[in-house]
Symmetry: C2
């Protein structure tokens, strides 16, 4: 994030108490999504998989948790000003939905490459879409313009402690449903979900390994953790339209502290995992949401014989684009 | 059914106690599937929809309940002989899976038009597939041959009280999860699921309306209930590959006693409902499984303002056939 859209200093990271408070705040609005299992996929993976179905969350993705927590945390004066965000899709829909529930307006800056189904969702919830280019610089520039024009409040998709705490509630619920879990894996893009997952998992101790999963074509989080420097300015190239952001100033240090490793997968592995989820679990999961399963299958040494929680992060996919998508897995 | 495959007189219909016994018998093996909701679909339907997700059942369909109850009811002598059935797909997979769990062999007589994914499932569970033509006469003829050759025990897909009682356990669970339900709707083909659903729904009283949902191109159940005569010998023409059977001698009188009405929908309505389930609920549901939602949307006068339980009967669909399928809904 550049200074124009994020003028305040990086806020303090949220703690486990913030995740608990978020769970209480969003409970009247969010679904407590089911945790599903599959014997077939367990056999394939050589471990016990517990799928937290955030594709079944309101708006079709975990993003509603963070957006709802942030927007229901706003004061009345902020609500009156309206909400602004930038999003490659799911966060935009979530902000639009949460804004409607709170009784305020949402403006969403979205790359022109955003899938139609995600743009339609934003508008169906009453949100206004402002297009931008796919680079982070363009996202930030247009977001700054919209903030200046509207006087709205920024609800950043990941570099916001309220958003991170909200995303962590998915893992909180997962650990309640499946208390024996000893590893959790979530996709990483800007790092909000993975940060929240880690804070929730480590809230009462450190005996759960937290992994990130990332497409090779958007491996900035992997490389940032390896190098110890937050990498910015790359252009992502992956089928995972939800995983093209880069780590934020707030999420990067949280991941450095909590995450054991970021596991990489290529797009063919992602699409194959997505197909398994559709065919064997009967769940519509978008490419980004299939990345953790792809990583478990591609890196079995980390998971053999363990009880693994997988965050199925979202299910918003253009059905008309499926033939092209599944064509990639041969 | 002709006499060759069904030599015994029609057995007595199962009662509510049989459904309760089936629930206990299959509990160690079957999933207690989730009941999911969608505000978007509620608004579209003008009623409160509670989706019983049998697409998330083992084997991808409710059929595992009935097959499991029947096969775990067999005596040791019968188990030693092996199991034979006829099926357009999901029942075959369910019988193969339940047979493997019980430690016996399954032979499945299946029409050549059966989707590849369903044939693959039968074989993946260790079942043997014997092909037949799509007519009921061909199914019965080949089934009789296989029974004679193998000495196996017939587990009929619907005209069997153990199978019907097993199918009823889905509605039993649904009514436990959502006790205020005042209408239940399930697809009808041979009538096993709908019979079991009705017996379960009416087990403790008659204040729940039970509806069937049937494609126009396979409307024998609708016409049979209207005319009071069980109609046989038609050739079905519908995208719903799971709904091409005709009512049995056992299921027909149960439906006459319990079912308020069979509601008809055309294939375009089915595919549109299926698309809604994929896009809005993120659930992979096969065409047959989308028929009840299509019926609720097409016949709103029966459901306005009510609490409606919908059995999402299965999710076994060839992903490679999707473009052709969704092309039908325009």
């Amino acid at each position: 994030m550049n200074d124009s859209t994020h003028p305040a200093p990086t806020p303090a990271p949220p703690g486990f108490d913030d995740v608990l408070a978020a769970a209480a705040r969003i409970a009247p609005h969010a679904h407590a999504t089911p945790v599903l299992r599959s014997r077939v996929l367990d056999a394939l993976a050589g471990c016990e998989l517990h799928f937290k179905c955030e594709n079944l969350q309101r708006g079709g993705a975990f993003k509603f948790r963070g957006a709802c927590n942030a927007i229901f945390s706003l004061g009345e004066e902020e609500v009156a000003r309206g909400v602004v965000t930038q999003s490659s899709g799911n966060h935009g829909g979530a902000v639009a939905l949460a804004s409607r529930l709170r009784g305020t307006r949402a403006t969403v800056v979205a790359p022109r490459s955003t899938p139609k189904v995600k743009l339609a969702a934003i508008e169906s919830y009453g949100g206004r879409v402002v297009p931008c280019d796919t680079t982070q610089a363009s996202r930030d520039e247009i977001t700054a313009q919209v903030l200046a024009e509207t006087g709205g409040v920024l609800v950043h998709p990941f570099n916001d402690p309220r958003v991170i705490a909200g995303q962590g509630t998915a893992t909180l619920e997962l650990l309640c449903s499946a208390p024996g879990i000893d590893a959790v894996i979530a996709p990483v893009s800007g790092g909000g979900l993975l940060s929240g997952s880690a804070i929730a998992a480590h809230g009462r101790g450190r005996d759960i390994d937290v992994f990130g999963a990332e497409p090779i074509g958007a491996r900035d989080a992997h490389d940032s953790l390896r190098s110890g420097e937050r990498i910015t300015g790359r252009v992502a190239d992956t089928v995972c339209d939800g995983l093209r952001a880069e780590l934020g100033t707030l999420t990067f240090p949280i991941l450095r502290e909590h995450v054991r490793e970021i596991l990489l997968v290529d797009d063919a592995q992602v699409v194959a995992a997505m197909r398994l989820l559709w065919e064997r679990m009967k769940l519509v999961v978008e490419p980004s949401g299939a990345v953790p399963l792809a990583a478990v299958l591609a890196h079995p040494q980390h998971f053999a014989g363990r009880r693994v929680g997988i965050i199925l992060s979202g299910g918003n996919v253009d059905l008309d684009a499926l033939p092209a998508l599944f064509g990639r897995s041969g």
